[in-house]
């Protein structure tokens, strides 16, 4: 084993062999987060379930009942909850990843490790939350006696990939920026809060005037949530263009986020 230590200039190349050798640490980080999240079993799982469930109830009352938001002839709670399900994976992944380096500052200052795995591992726990929240969706569907479309489950893995890639790409970028500018921490929740309004979670794309719909499609989550509703709830036919845009955008996010991360990671230990 021979390690050569030399200055890192420009874009440090990604050492895939090294990353592979650190797969166990990735697993341990993810395991730690899951362990901590569900340590107090009742509140852990309850929280994963309550958060989207209560949001769904509030949204159903305000947007479904009071504002009479159209929901493509689907009971509004089902409509909004299936959107929230994927939205939460995105929002929580993004938030976890962005905070992960600051949270792991002690480790970064004291041990060498490929730092890209820290934001990546922080995302895994949102997928376990997704599983629990997904069980609740089944409950809601049964409650309303609604018959979903199995096609949705075929699309789901693919949609999750787009969601995770977008969140991770953006998360890598924001995590790196966060090391240098700590005020990201305060701006991010606000940013995520606003982002939900340019995503068709609470409303269908069809209520937005055609001329402005392109704004929604800048956001990769639009295609994901629209496709999930189209396939699982059978609201509309699949909009392949918007799904395509989302898929491409998520890959672009992933690559740009990673590139920025690798370019800046060399000074993390000095300034974090």
């Amino acid at each position: 084993m021979e390690i050569i230590i030399k200055p890192k200039r420009g874009l440090a190349s990604l050492d895939l062999k090294e990353l592979w050798s650190y797969r166990e640490l990735f697993y341990f980080f993810a395991w730690r987060d899951i362990k901590l999240r569900y340590k107090q079993t009742f509140f852990g799982i309850a929280w994963a379930v309550m958060q989207p469930f209560v949001t769904m109830i509030v949204f159903s009352i305000i947007f479904g009942r009071l504002a009479e938001m159209p929901s493509d002839n689907i009971p509004y709670p089902i409509f909004v909850y299936s959107g929230l399900l994927l939205w939460n994976v995105f929002a929580n992944s993004l938030s976890n990843a962005s905070q992960s380096l600051i949270g792991g500052a002690e480790i970064i200052k004291k041990v060498y490790l490929p730092k890209v795995i820290i934001p990546a591992a922080s995302i895994i726990v949102t997928l376990t939350d997704f599983v629990f929240a997904g069980l609740v969706l089944i409950g809601i569907i049964i409650y309303f006696g609604f018959m979903p479309n199995i096609l949705g489950l075929v699309f789901l893995p693919f949609l999750l990939f787009i969601t995770v890639f977008s969140a991770l790409g953006l998360g890598w970028f924001l995590a790196a920026v966060n090391v240098k500018y700590r005020d990201i921490r305060y701006a991010l929740p606000f940013f995520i809060q606003l982002l939900i309004f340019v995503t068709p979670v609470i409303y269908p794309v069809s209520i937005v005037p055609k001329a402005y719909q392109w704004i929604l499609y800048l956001n990769p989550m639009t295609g994901v949530i629209e496709t999930f509703k189209a396939t699982f709830l059978g609201t509309t036919s699949v909009n392949w263009l918007s799904l395509g845009i989302s898929a491409v955008a998520s890959i672009v996010f992933l690559i740009l986020g990673l590139a920025y991360f690798l370019k800046t990671e060399k000074y993390f230990a000095d300034i974090i």
């Binding site: 084993m1 021979e2 390690i3 050569i4 230590i5 030399k6 200055p7 890192k8 166990e24 640490l25 341990f28 730690r32 362990k35 901590l36 340590k39 792991g104 002690e106 480790i107 970064i108 200052k109 004291k110 041990v111 060498y112 490790l113 090391v179 240098k180 500018y181 700590r182 005020d183 060399k266 000074y267 230990a269 000095d270 300034i271 974090i272």
Partner: protein
């Protein structure tokens, strides 16, 4: 045989603005105001002074397998930076180092420990962070637990551990990493006295086996002397001297006590509100001559010079000087009575008849409390070497490994016939 570590012209620079306290990271607001200010400054003719600090400059060093190297030097000499480069925590600015083996370090005791996780879970997590494979951790698990002596609390969350247990477990995981190259930075001063001794013994066991290369950074000359075969003196980021431990330590101690006693400059790393600041510590013999080495049994005076802040009345002052053994154990403290009022500039004198500590190098810590608040506190302010043993009258002596201090006593034999 190829050296296990080859360091060639290794340098590391920091921008000074990053080193200022509280300025380690900026906010977007700072950056924006900077963008506005920069052109204004430029128009005013002020050129940006990009001050850089070379924490390490052109280090060249070869270390052979099995060598135990001590690295010493004053604060800010670059000792810790060198370890950070060798562990790849931060990359160098120039030069290179080739490392032929697995590096582990005791810089990282307890890194990644989580208070909510149990001892067992923390062993796995911490082990993985330090670079151990899951299988490896499983193999060493029992030894780790036994060394830390926490078997009863394995499934208790670490937050319920006493600080001693916490440290023991952390040290135990780190020390069982068993890398080819072990880097150690001042960790021998963790835990209680018994555990410190145990850690020190473990270090000795590691260094004596000879199959491990060890780099030990310490302020504690005693530990360096006891463990190392070779020593490097760093000063202001450069290698000042490489050689036999004795010679390098002597050079370092002479340097730091060059002008009349141990000067404690303003920029020393210290705590306290600054009501008084120690300026130097001087050891004197009975006649009042300054001495660098003392012998066991000597009548010694320790002078602690200080400067007071002009606008404060120095009332209710209590001072102490603590002495630490080579393995970092606090062995004794000289505590003063409370002085009602002391002059604004002066020196305290500690009169020690029959200095009782045996041969070795002891580090000392200076502390002062003024009006109930910590005024000055310098950990590892300096060292005093105890050279020979003249505690007992000629003809009576205690072998060096049979005592760490002496007590005045007399022997006689009585006839019971």
């Amino acid at each position: 045989m190829k050296p296990i570590i080859e360091i060639k012209n290794l340098s590391k620079k920091y921008n000074i603005y990053l080193m200022k306290e509280g300025m380690t990271y900026s906010t977007i607001r700072d950056e924006l105001t900077d963008i506005v200010r920069k052109p204004i400054r430029w128009l005013k003719g002020e050129r940006e002074n990009k001050e850089v600090l070379w924490a390490l400059k052109d280090i060249n060093l070869n270390i052979n397998p099995g060598e135990i190297i001590g690295i010493i030097g004053p604060n800010g000499a670059g000792k810790s930076t060198l370890l950070k480069l060798l562990t790849r925590i931060t990359p160098p600015s120039e030069g290179r180092a080739i490392i032929r083996g697995r590096v582990g370090s005791l810089l990282e005791v307890g890194t990644g420990f989580h208070p909510e996780l149990t001892g067992r879970e923390n062993i796995y997590l911490n082990g993985a962070i330090l670079g151990m494979r899951r299988k490896e951790i499983e193999e060493k698990f029992d030894r780790i637990v036994d060394f830390a002596d926490i078997r009863k609390f394995l499934d208790t969350p670490a937050k319920r551990y006493s600080s001693g247990m916490y440290v023991r477990l952390a040290f135990s995981v780190a020390v069982h990493l068993e890398p080819d190259i072990l880097l150690v930075d001042e960790v021998l001063s963790v835990g209680d006295a018994a555990f410190q001794k145990k850690s020190f013994d473990k270090m000795q066991e590691i260094t004596r086996k000879g199959d491990r290369t060890v780099i030990l950074v310490s302020h504690n000359m005693g530990a360096i002397q006891a463990l190392c075969q070779k020593c490097v003196l760093l000063e202001k980021g450069e290698v000042k001297m490489i050689g036999e431990v004795e010679d390098v330590i002597r050079r370092h101690l002479n340097d730091s006590t060059k002008d009349s006693g141990l000067a404690l400059t303003r920029d020393r790393e210290r705590k306290g509100n600054g009501d008084i600041r120690f300026t130097k510590v001087v050891f004197q013999d009975e006649q009042g001559n300054e001495i660098k080495d003392i012998y066991t049994g000597q009548n010694v005076k320790i002078l602690m010079h200080y400067d007071g802040r002009k606008d404060v009345g120095l009332k209710n002052v209590r001072v102490n000087l603590n002495m630490d053994s080579p393995w970092g154990q606090r062995i004794t403290s000289f505590y003063s009575q409370t002085f009602d009022l002391i002059p604004n500039k002066g020196h305290f004198v500690i009169d020690v008849p029959n200095f009782p500590l045996v041969q070795g190098i002891y580090s000392f810590t200076c502390f002062a409390r003024v009006n109930g608040a910590t005024a000055d506190w310098i950990v590892n302010a300096g060292h005093i070497k105890v050279g020979s043993d003249r505690f007992f009258p000629p003809g009576r002596s205690v072998p060096p490994d049979q005592a760490i201090f002496h007590i005045k006593h007399n022997w006689e034999v009585k006839n019971d016939q």
